[in-house]
């Protein structure tokens, strides 16, 4: 499945400064991620799961105190966010620019990171909108974000995330704000794109069941620490941490209630 080592995190710690106080957001995180490997970071609010994604993407807020190391042996150099790492957030409504068309925004990524001219970038944007399965991409390329549904906007955000041909895709609660049917479609799309483009995936979510059908390994975060990591089936079938077991118990599935 997975390839050579892409990313190696050792002893990562992050502290945020807020109102004169220093708050521990992450502490002592070790993680190796291989090319083409899919890993889920599971956690609740305050677990540090989003901080971890932001730290990898180089998007931590200014003034954050970072300790430990993040190395990218698979890249040979420091990654360029938006190019080597694509990231998709929960709410595409706030990450997309409301006054630019969808096509302009996707094309902008191609222009910036792939050095294409404007016409080629725009043509590439149409291809990308097609790849994320948006209906009639030639028309939708001229649409503004508000004219699209939440699920369609999330597809645009995914198109932008993969436009720079990244090695790693980070999805941070990318399906939490949409209904279950669209969620299943978006997860299917992410799975397909990761396989086709040989992408590694960091899938950040509160939903361990959703993650269990998508990833190779699951890491569980709680209160700034990683409490468990292992192959997805192992973690779900025989969790070593009582906290993971509680999360699995809390899953609301279709078994007889």
């Amino acid at each position: 499945m997975s390839g050579p080592l892409l990313l190696s995190v050792r002893g990562l710690g992050v502290r945020y400064r807020a109102e004169g106080q220093s708050v521990e957001a992450l502490t002592g995180i070790d993680l190796d991620l291989h090319a083409r490997e899919r890993i889920a970071i599971i956690g609740e609010s305050g677990s540090g799961k989003s901080t971890f994604g932001l730290a990898l993407a180089g998007l931590l807020p200014r003034g954050s105190e970072v300790s430990g190391s993040i190395a990218w042996p698979g890249l040979g150099a420091a990654p360029k966010p938006g190019k080597d790492i694509g990231i998709v957030f929960q709410d595409p409504g706030s990450s997309l620019n409301p006054v630019l068309t969808v096509g302009e925004q996707v094309a902008e990524v191609c222009r910036t990171h792939l050095g294409m001219g404007w016409r080629r970038s725009y043509a590439r944007a149409v291809e990308l909108l097609d790849r994320v399965r948006l209906p009639s991409p030639e028309g939708i390329v001229r649409a503004y974000p508000h004219q699209l549904s939440g699920g369609q906007r999330q597809r645009v955000a995914i198109a932008m995330a993969i436009a720079g041909r990244p090695r790693l895709l980070i999805a941070d609660e990318a399906t939490s704000a949409i209904d279950t049917v669209v969620q299943a479609e978006i997860v299917g799309l992410i799975r397909e794109l990761c396989s086709a483009d040989a992408l590694a995936l960091l899938f950040i979510t509160h939903d361990i069941a959703l993650a269990s059908g998508l990833v190779d390994r699951i890491a569980v975060f709680r209160a700034a620490r990683m409490v468990e990591i292992g192959p997805a089936e192992e973690v779900v079938s025989a969790p070593s941490s009582p906290y993971t077991a509680a999360l699995i118990d809390a899953h609301l599935g279709l078994d007889a209630a």
């Binding site: 209904d179 969620q183 299943a184 779900v236 118990d249 809390a250 899953h251 609301l252 279709l254 209630a257």
Partner: protein, 265 residues
């Protein structure tokens, strides 16, 4: 038993510049006293419009709603205000509508004052009792709404809803904004309150997993019409409509290690 709520042929169309969107196309629905019915559908299915029409937050274009044997849509003035005490609604983030600096005390005291269920002198006692009933410390009353956790806020919203002793609470995605480990405790609270007071719930959700955990009966709405209705077990085990099949297939499943015995071939 006679129905607590009876919706017949409800229609609602939204007009947006040149478009018209039929949000409800003749919806029928009934709810018995003390029952929990899940109203399940996708975004855009009409489920939120239906919940809001039942709570008299929007006016439907046509059809009828009877609540506690009376014509809900004809109610005006004092009768409508009295009905609001009996039919409450809890939203996904119910306290977003409040000034974040409002205290928990004010949020719970408001309906008690408006519906004259407690005078100024009894108010602190009445608010404390409601907080204890939803599993919160009475001391929380002094805190601002923005200072407390999401789970605590949802408990406060439930305390506010039960303050007026309703016979029906519309729960619009009550768990979606909560952490996984908090969801089960809120469900248990809703269960306890129902056992204690006989309140009925209309649970609006896009997630059949949530519906399965609380509701005895499920009704599926799609494109503004009810497309399927039945006991929860039956709908989940053998969904008939395309919409219900999509909803069933979309519920995330725990992918455990495959057991040696496989079903089918």
């Amino acid at each position: 038993m006679s129905d607590l709520l009876e919706v017949r042929g409800l229609t609602k169309t939204y007009r947006r510049s040149r478009e018209t969107i039929a949000a409800l196309r003749g919806v029928d629905l009934t709810l018995a006293p003390g029952e929990t019915l899940a109203l399940v559908g996708n975004s855009g299915s009409g489920k939120t419009t239906l919940g809001r029409a039942i709570a008299r937050l929007i006016e439907p274009d046509g059809g009828a709603i009877r609540f506690e044997g009376r014509d809900l849509l004809a109610m005006r003035g004092r009768e409508l205000r009295a009905m609001r005490a009996r039919l409450q609604i809890v939203f996904q983030e119910p306290l977003e509508a409040f000034n974040p600096r409002a205290t928990v005390f004010r949020v719970i005291a408001d309906p008690l004052r408006v519906h004259r269920l407690a005078g100024r002198a009894e108010m602190p006692e009445a608010v404390s009792r409601l907080l204890v009933r939803v599993g919160l410390e009475p001391a929380l009353a002094a805190r601002a709404v923005h200072e407390i956790s999401g789970g605590q806020r949802q408990r406060v919203a439930i305390a506010r809803a039960i303050a007026t002793r309703p016979s029906l609470i519309v729960l619009d995605e009550p768990l979606s904004a909560l952490d996984v480990s908090v969801r089960g405790r809120i469900l248990a609270l809703l269960d306890d309150l129902q056992a204690e007071t006989g309140v009925a719930y209309l649970l609006i959700t896009h997630d059949l997993g949530v519906a399965n955990a609380v509701a005895g009966r499920i009704t599926v709405i799609d494109g503004g019409s009810i497309v399927e209705e039945g006991p929860t077990k039956v709908v989940l085990a053998d969904p008939q409509s395309a919409a219900a099949r999509r909803l069933v297939a979309a519920v995330p499943r725990l992918h455990r290690r495959t057991e040696p015995a496989r079903i089918g071939g």
